[in-house]
Point group: C2
Chain length 189, copies 2
DNA sequence: GCCAGATTTCAAGTTTTTCTGAAATCGGCG
DNA sequence: CGCCGATTTCAGAAAAACTTGAAATCTGGC
């Protein structure tokens, strides 16, 4: 195969990944473009400047800037510098487990923590403690407590997995995924 | 406290929960109304008909109908009947762990499985196997494989937790959340 | 301190998602 | 059957989310 055809093929495969990751992005509650920028940086493994991103993804400068900022906040992309270059360059975290941990951490922060906070407030608002508190209030409180328990556990799990030596996640996941039977699926990795 | 004030207070607390759950719903990628309908059924624990839902949440009949259908598909709400009544009534799953499993199952289905499928397609498209396949193609394939591995593991985990004796989740979560050290954090629950 | 290139901000425009309401369909009962 | 209340559907309206582009701001080198 001639070199040109090979590299065209490569770009095409990259684009397909970018597209797939971008579509998942919108399912995951982040903007599609943000996911695409991440996908491009990840899949090529190269450091790129804003203009390269804009060209390849056909997005505006403003959009690129905002997406990059968000990715930096998520911790899955970092700024780098090239010797004599004035512009900023960006690279994606290449370790997939580290990337996954960063995503998990951010999602727990957005999708679980606010709920736990609200649950606390609602329970406070609902005066189930009074000696003659009505049955209904006690029932409500109990329901809320159960929800709090489950989501609190999810948050702790997330913390354990994403914290310090998150390496643990990899091990735990592998163990849990195959070890003690339960479903029909045969071990996969 | 007079009965009226008590029940007003209860309704207020319920509304706050409904609001909180609804807001999370939109973060979780489902429509806010759908989450609110679920929240109302869950938090009251009562069987309700469509008109009650519409009144309490101030939504249209069409919206109520569509939200209920989606909740039935998710498996967190079910249809019930009242003796001589002609209309349908709906109740929410009351076991919080069962509810959580249903949510998890559906989210893995939407947020992980399509990605795995795409990854397979992209790897096929990228001909990294050829004897003189360029370095770049092999690199791409390796990246894709790693992503596949991680998300594949997540999917198996999800399956184990939501499948058959999903009761396991509760236990596993509790164990993992506190048991074997690794991070600096002292056990929390 | 000032210039030039680079980045950020944000009001206005665009696209996507969600909601409404009324017409069509359903389904049990006499 | 044919009726009637209940539910579903879906085209259009409304709301929410995302993107653009140009002006404002920043930054490093001289």
């Amino acid at each position: 195969m001639p070199d040109d055809a090979q590299s065209a093929q490569l770009l095409k495969a990259q684009d397909r990944f970018i597209d797939a990751w971008g579509r998942m992005g919108s399912v995951w509650g982040i903007s599609r473009t943000m996911a695409e920028v991440h996908a491009l940086l990840f899949v090529t493994g190269e450091a790129m400047c804003m203009d390269e991103l804009m060209d390849r993804l056909r997005i505006s400068r403003g959009n690129a800037s905002m997406s990059l900022r968000a990715l930096l906040e998520w911790g899955v992309v970092s700024k780098t510098h090239k010797d004599g270059e004035r512009r900023d360059f960006y690279t994606a975290e290449q370790d997939v487990w580290a990337m996954f941990r960063a995503i998990l951490r951010e999602r727990v922060k957005r999708e679980v923590e606010p709920l736990l906070e609200s649950l606390g407030e609602v329970r406070e608002l609902n005066p189930s403690g009074g000696k003659n508190a009505p049955e209904s209030a006690r029932e409500l409180d109990q329901r809320l407590e159960e929800v709090q328990e489950v989501f609190g556990l999810v948050a702790s799990l997330g913390e354990r997995f994403t914290g310090a030596n998150g390496q643990g996640l990899k091990v735990a996941a592998k163990l849990l995924a195959k070890a003690p039977g339960g479903t029909r699926r045969k071990a996969k990795a």
